[in-house]
Symmetry: C2
Subunit: 336 residues, 2 copies
């Protein structure tokens, strides 16, 4: 798996880079507008806040949530300025949650840069996240209709619910159903709210909004499962963050849940001990692979990606729909 | 100062208890309604979240922000269900900010109970605050008109700004103007938004809304300054939390700013060293008192309380106004 990945890595990264260049061309001004709204939201009269904001913006991600929001809007009608605000809002929520996640995990690296908690301390990271949340809600309140705002509120609360459930269940083994609940809450819910909001603001009929909402959820599940696989298998230089952190934090992701279902004796005891006290990432990976944990998780990711693909079946053929289809292929081959 | 306080403590606590009993009688059903809304907002499908929520509710404070919101509404017209939601929203924002503050300060005690971070860990406290924020924004979005919601968004962002400024200026001495900016942001802004919102939702004319907004700001400044004095002088058993934490965290509050303006030589060097590395609270207090820091801060608190009192001059004479006047007296004699 690891050697396979390094062989195909160049091809994959090329494919991804190409995709993100093309989608940026297609979305053009809208994506710039989203960046401007985010930049403006993170402005402050306090120098330190602005300094941290610049650090966050310099190491910005692929803007996947804004891209999905804008594509969903274009798959129906056209984007409006409200769609750009919704897209920026979703990204700000995501940024805030990453800031807090990195404090919770004591993470040192994010997107190839030192995390805010590493560079400025936990206090600054916690406050910067709160600032980002406040600014995000201000945007949402000003630009989103009530029912969409309510959906985002539920998603934001759900992101906490998912993490709280993960903490609550630290001392017992998770089932696959538990795990599905967690990743729906933590990740897929926000993607789903993005595509739903984009579609609704783009003026699509109800059935198409529901289809795009489903797309976002299934895409998000595929995305999170491959993310969890990458935490075992990725090259940290490519990923831009440390690997092996899930196990180190005692988080049971699909590969290890599957392996634990099938392992017994010493291997089972080893995996449980690794969840409690950590162990060398390579040794853990070998044990998980021995019981097919990685392959099983990748199969699950493929199923969700396929379900996302199918949700688009009845949408009119547009360039936006084509990009959304491409994303369901990229998501299971990602190295980012 | 300390012995004076312990002598009058019983009287003061009696006065406060009496006030809060009478105001609770006056506001009656509305305050219960606020508690219900808060309780409902903190409900979750996750057991751990509910457990932490029960802990927070069992050690709930005086509900000062809801009380101010409801009194401001009654000083004008009558309260509505929207006012109760605004009051609950303000308290939820406050609860969330305390949860994060306690993580940042590594505080072990709050309202006589172990803090959430102490009992469940930083991760749970951070997530519980985020959950509380999300639920608060949902309430605000559903029940507040746009312009009031925008005011609260600015206040919430300002609370972070104030703390970020405090961190940014850790390595230099603060002026009184710096300090005023910090406490406006961190504390008084929220009180001011409460009284403004209550007045506006209570249907008061514009000038009265502005007067109550000013009342909240001045009351909040007096409140924070006495709070900072109590961190030097209070009995921790009465206060329900540790004292001496401001200096221990390197926070320059008004008593120490004043003392540093007047001290020189060894005393000045001692205070600066105490801000950097801490020292015995009793020794710090003696040094601050030697330069009149406590008396100066209490004078400043009295001035702000008087300005709050004067803001009420032109309001019609109602029981609500009378309670607001009483609060300006209690705030400078508080032991809570």
């Amino acid at each position: 798996m690891v050697s396979l990945q390094s062989k195909t890595e160049k091809v994959r990264r090329g494919g991804q880079a190409d995709f993100f260049t093309r989608v940026a061309d297609y979305l053009a001004g809208d994506l710039d507008r989203v960046d401007d709204i985010i930049g403006e939201a993170l402005q402050s009269q306090i120098g330190l806040t602005c300094e941290v904001a610049r650090h966050i913006e310099a190491a910005s991600g692929k803007r996947l949530r804004p891209i999905l929001t804008l594509l969903a809007a274009r798959a129906g009608g056209g984007p409006s300025d409200h769609v750009c605000h919704a897209a920026a809002f979703a990204e700000l929520l995501h940024i805030a949650s990453l800031l807090h996640d990195d404090v919770i995990d004591a993470a040192a690296l994010r997107r190839g840069q030192p995390t805010v908690n590493k560079r400025w301390g936990n206090d600054v990271a916690i406050l910067m996240a709160d600032y980002t949340y406040s600014r995000a809600w201000e945007i949402a309140h000003t630009h989103l209709p009530t029912e969409l705002m309510a959906a985002f509120c539920r998603v934001a609360a759900g992101m906490c619910d998912g993490e709280m459930f993960q903490i609550e269940t630290r001392n017992r083994l998770l089932t696959e159903a538990d795990h599905l609940f967690i990743i729906r809450c933590k990740t897929a819910g926000l993607f789903s709210a993005c595509t739903k909001t984009g579609a609704a603001l783009g003026g699509m009929p109800e059935a198409a909004v529901a289809a795009l909402e489903r797309y976002g959820m299934e895409f998000g599940l595929a995305f999170q499962i491959t993310d969890d696989v990458l935490d075992f298998t990725a090259d940290p230089r490519v990923l831009g963050k440390e690997i092996g952190t899930d196990i180190a934090c005692g988080r049971q992701t699909l590969p290890v849940i599957r392996a634990l279902e099938r392992a017994d004796g010493d291997d089972r005891a080893f995996l449980i001990a690794a969840l409690n006290n950590g162990s060398a990432p390579q040794v853990i990976l070998e044990c998980v692979q021995k019981y097919g944990g990685i392959a099983y998780a990748l199969d699950a990711a493929r199923s969700h990606a396929q379900a996302a693909r199918q949700a688009l079946d009845r949408l009119p053929e547009t360039p936006a729909r084509q990009f959304l289809i491409e994303l369901t292929e990229l998501v299971i081959n990602r190295a980012y």
